[in-house]
């Protein structure tokens, strides 16, 4: 399969691994931002193949994981309403609120549907004029353009029975928050390839200068990841604080201008709570005033709902690369994908789920 097979070539992977071993003279800690990359690393066992001197820590780039519990509780409240068709990307359905998840709402009679695009949700609104269709707009810069487009289209067509719960977050402020933490160990980043496809990589250049570290936009396949790690190691060894793009087939310096314009039409920057981490200033997107009638939380008056996390869940430390999932006392004991305490154990991109699925304790390597 073109664009896949060549990036999963075992021989090429071995060459890159040899090169990484050859270039590495000391211990380096590198964070891959994106949960998709985390899963690819664990799924392909890349962490097992790297020299001990290269430590990968897993970043907060899992939209499901960082969506605050309040948003989930509000979504559950809205989804249970009789007049509502609640639509969401599939991953959000299993994320537990304080007492239930969206699957349970569905089993209790709620009309909860998985969609693959917010534009599909808008189509459901078009053909169900007697229903209120709500879309759970979560995600990083990758999902923001399509989510913005759905709202923009709804406004253009005057569709009033459509609204969104917005929990959009952005990568650069999260990187800053991690680097500013007194416990930070990250010395270089693999930047999330698909976020960079939308936003370009120019926005990381100030981060490299400010914090004096390399950032390498990379893809998701094993060869992409190994090439990204190799480049990061080279930059670290040479003391170069630069952005070097290794995902050239998808990412440009400027990114996708049309997508950026669409985001800017509908959304504006806001402070945002990250589940497990806390408030990160300027890290989120919210609907502009002109589109506030599409804000489901206001439409259904659920903004008062607040809630707290399981005290056992250490997902905040996991999401900031301070704790490996299997070092959490609850890992694979109180907390499993069947009974997740936090979203990092739920999502297909969550680091805890990746460790559980591919590497859990007792696994013979």
């Amino acid at each position: 399969m073109k664009y896949i097979d060549e990036y999963r070539d075992p021989q090429l992977a071995r060459k890159l691994l040899d090169e990484i071993r050859r270039k590495t003279t000391r211990h380096w800690t590198i964070m891959e931002i994106c949960g998709g990359q985390t899963h690819s690393i664990l799924r392909n066992g890349i962490d097992q193949l790297l020299p001990d001197t290269i430590e990968l820590v897993h970043g907060p780039g899992c939209p499901v994981c960082v969506t605050p519990l309040e948003s989930i509780e509000r979504a559950l409240e809205i989804a249970a309403k009789k007049e509502v068709i609640f639509t969401s990307f599939g991953d959000m359905l299993r994320v537990p609120g304080s007492s239930k998840d969206l699957f349970m709402v569905r089993s209790e009679g709620g009309d909860v549907r998985i969609v693959f695009s917010p534009l599909d949700a808008l189509q459901i609104a078009r053909v169900n004029p007697g229903k209120e269709v709500v879309f759970f707009a979560v995600g990083f810069e990758t999902t923001a353009p399509a989510n913005a487009m759905a709202v923009y289209q709804a406004a253009r067509e005057g569709i009033e029975n459509f609204s969104v719960i917005v929990s959009q977050v952005m990568v650069p402020p999260a990187m800053r928050a991690i680097l500013l933490s007194p416990d930070n160990r990250v010395q270089g980043f693999l930047a999330a390839g698909h976020v960079c496809a939308v936003m370009g990589y120019a926005e990381y250049e100030p981060v490299t200068r400010e914090f004096n570290l390399p950032i390498v936009p990379a893809g998701f396949e094993p060869v992409d990841l190994l090439a990204g790690i190799l480049k990061t190691v080279e930059l670290l060894e040479e003391g170069r604080a630069e952005v070097v793009n290794l995902y050239g087939r998808v990412v440009s310096r400027e990114g996708n201008r049309v997508a950026q314009d669409t985001i800017a039409k509908v959304f504006e920057v806001t402070d945002r709570q990250w589940r497990g981490i806390g408030l990160i200033p300027g890290s989120g997107l919210t609907l502009k005033a002109a589109y506030s009638s599409y804000d489901a939380e206001k439409k259904f008056n659920v903004t008062h709902i607040c809630t707290g996390e399981s005290p056992l869940c250490k997902s905040g430390s996991v999401l900031q690369g301070m704790l490996k999932p299997d070092a959490c006392p609850a890992f694979a004991k109180e907390c499993t994908p069947g009974h997740p305490l936090g979203a990092t154990m739920v999502s297909s991109e969550g680091a805890c789920a990746a460790y559980y699925n591919y590497h859990r304790t007792g696994f013979p390597i």
């Binding site: 664990l42 693959f116 990758t142 069947g338 991109e349």
Partner: protein
Amino acid sequence: MTITPLCQSPILQHETVQMAHGAGGRLSQTLMQRVFMPHLHNVFLDILDDQAKLDLPAGRTAYSTDTYVVSPVFFPGGNIGELAVNGTVNDLAVGGAKPMYLSAGFVLEEGFSLVELETIVISMAEAARKAGVMIVTGDTKVVGKGQCDKIFINTSGIGSVMDGVNLSCRNLQPGDTMILSGTVGDHGMAIMTSREGLSFQSKITSDCAALNSMIAAVLEVVPAIHAMRDPTRGGVAAALNELAASSSVGIEINEPSIPVKPDVRGACELLGIDPLHVANEGKLVLAVSSEYTETVLEVLRSFEHGRDAVTIGEVVDDHPGMVVMRTAFGSRRIIDLPLGEQLPRIC
């Protein structure tokens, strides 16, 4: 009473299932005579008793049941009717039985198209003929609009277990070879990519097929095969995990050896789904002592539904109950049971 199927007027496009079709009265009889009997009739069914009276061969009898609720009812490569026949035929066959007789129970939703129902019944008749089984008893109920999704079918089947064959999921031995009869994930991805709301097109077709003749042939040659599974829901991953757990052994499989069609792989990539977790309806996983590996492969490959048969791994002493994959890169990872519904990734 023996009835001869009457020459009936064709079913009209606009005709639909009515509540009265399931009420046991005149319309029920009409449904039997116009839709079911013309296609399914045989010496047992024609008698129209409430039961079929069967002569079974001496020896052990296998008995299995399954209920089919697939959506959409018609999917690329098949429909719920042939799925219901082939599924139960395969459930019997992987136990080492030669499937003989099936029952068929229908739950129909009020308003379901009679033309579509007849198409499904014709497929069942054709699938039964191909598999060499007879549908010998049946039942139809109608529920109100919205109380089921178009049509649900239950089939039960009985078959006669082949002499000298002792297949069980508890029989795996360290050193056994794990063999897979062909590509994985075809059925599940055919269903997923044809569901409403998934706006991409593919040429993926279901692998829905009866495997009983292939299974009988391989068991004739190698009756000592230890275990067989048809990896339906949960895919090959679930089948392997069940086998490993039941026999308290480990299973190690090689990633590059798992055959996946390019279209299925592409769709799985897009949706973020592991092909090993995707359902199959015409595939076989088996465990056999390694000295028979080549013989088994040779027999399987002589059949249409086994021509892509391959060795995918082996049974080991280590990590009992756990299935481990050796990746193309030389690393290893756990192959776990899929958890609940398959969810597409979001970015």
